[in-house]
């Protein structure tokens, strides 16, 4: 059985700057993968390439064995890949309910009906059910621009999940959210993701969040994948702790599940 997502030698440069290089990843259905790395390590570039926001300079991206390189974001979404953003991408002047109604229409119905009202009883009921699932139904009539960050993040993810993606990419779902609300937000999101059985990649800086929710971790460093393995193994890797986490983490590792880090952080040759 082929992987749900497979990238082969993926690379992206911006002029002389190489933001991502030699990215080889394989994600299977139902996996929950945490993506870690310091700022500029290539995490968002990787997500942007997989979701069609950026075209890779080289390499291949396969979803269910079919190449999606060069496809527009909408086509990538239709191929089964959804995403949320570090800065929630919403319709700020519309109400929360209208955001979901529009999203339902555009991502589920996909027929740009000309004269049928958007606010039908049936659609409103459905939209309110969705908001309730994400525990933000109480904000239904509020204008998005006035919402707290956590609610915006949940709404962003709720809207992205409407197309029932088989692979969901969450770009820093807890960034800008108060520390005390991070786990509540992740709990709500991961409950929804598990129910949908979608494979999930989430970019995260908070290692507590990563440890709690990720089955597997991809550690990015300097545009490359430094480590790829189970959460415990990657987070206990001294190189990852030094170069990515920035401090020591006490993690117990099952020695039977070893792996090699793939990047040499600095090497001096012919000195």
């Amino acid at each position: 059985m082929s992987a749900l997502l497979e990238t082969r030698n993926l690379e992206r440069s911006f002029g002389a700057v190489t933001a991502a290089v030699d990215i080889n990843v394989s994600i299977n259905a139902g996996e929950v993968v945490g993506v870690i790395g310091s700022n500029g390590a290539g995490k968002t570039t990787f997500i942007n390439m997989v979701t069609g926001y950026l075209k890779p300079s080289a390499g291949e991206i396969l979803v269910d064995g079919r190449s999606i390189v060069g496809l527009q974001p909408r086509a990538v979404v239709r191929a089964g890949v959804g995403r949320s953003f570090q800065v929630a991408q919403l319709f700020p002047e519309l109400s929360v309910l209208d955001n979901v109604l529009v999203a339902l229409g555009l991502s589920v119905d996909r027929k740009l009906t000309l004269l049928r009202p958007l606010h039908s009883q049936k659609r409103r009921r459905k939209a309110l059910e969705i908001l309730a699932e994400y525990e933000i139904a109480g904000h239904a009539d509020e204008v998005v621009a006035t919402l707290p960050q956590g609610v915006r993040k949940l709404l962003d993810i709720a809207m992205a999940m409407l197309s029932s993606p088989r692979l969901m990419l969450l770009d820093e779902p807890t960034s800008g959210v108060a520390i005390e609300d991070k786990f509540a937000l992740m709990e709500t999101v991961m409950n929804r993701v598990r129910k949908s059985n979608a494979a999930t990649l989430f970019v995260e800086h908070d290692m507590d969040v990563v440890q709690r929710y990720a089955d597997r971790v991809l550690a990015f460093y300097d545009g490359r994948i430094l480590a790829d393995g189970t959460t415990a193994k990657v987070l206990s890797d001294p190189k990852v702790q030094e170069l990515v986490v920035g401090h020591h983490l006490d993690i117990e590792v099952d020695s039977a599940d070893a792996y090699e880090s793939t990047v040499v952080p600095m090497e001096v040759r012919n000195a």
Partner: protein, 313 residues
Amino acid sequence: MQTKSIFLLIGGALGLFVLGLLVPEWLSYLMIIAMGKGIVVLGVVLLMRAGLVSFGQGLYYCIGAYVAGTLTQFAGISDVLLILLASIAASVLVAALVGLLLCRYRGIFFAMFSMAFSMILYGLLVRSSVLGSTDGFNVLRPSLLGWVPTDDASSDLVLAVAVVMVMILGSLMWLYLRSLSGYAGEAVRENEIRVEYLGTSVFRIIYTKYLIAAALAGIGGTVTALVSGHVDPEMAYWTTSGEFVFIALMGGTSHVAAPMVGAGLFELLRTYAFAIAPYTWQMILGSTLLLIIIFLPSGLWSLVSRFSRQARG
């Protein structure tokens, strides 16, 4: 649409028509011109709600007018329904081609490109001696389903056509703005990235709106040509397109009636400003727009919205 709304609509149309018959001829003429321009501005508003300001709707306004002119003058076709259909077809056809390029641009580029296309038509018409060059040519009296009205009844026929068009197009637009397609415009204005990541083509949404706006401008141009009995290249000149934007700002974009109110007041204001100050009437128009932008940034219709909100408590 509810039965009450339909009765209100028919009542409103009849009222407007009777008013047009009762007022002096110059005012009736002004009403029809305002309705023609109001229809064009409906399209301008549609684009504005999607975040696009078109300074080139004069292109389709002029096409609609010239279709009316050429059909009556050169092809011997005077049936108003056929003329309207031909105007819509010609406007949409041109928009379908121009839109392929234009709808990829945003902001000032969209505004300037739209103006450029309109000025290309202006340039072509000015150099076309067959179509009367800068003088244009006269549009013959319209007929309706074989009925050829007398001179007096001719303007009543155009009045009726304008009223019916305003009511039908206004109602359709009212429904459209409440539909998914209507909201999709606002969604595009606010966040194109999210629209794309919902699996929908932003280009398709904007392109559709551009075609609708072109059809509306074509209809508006036809109504204007039929009531004035004359067409000329000025209809494609950039100041004409600017006038439509002016009216849209004046009336506001929040309701389908706003362009009609804006167009009516604009025509009245211009007429009186010209009568009072023939050499500085533009200053009066400019000052009025300035005051509206400062004190009523959402246009004159925001006053109606405010009063109706207060009335509801």
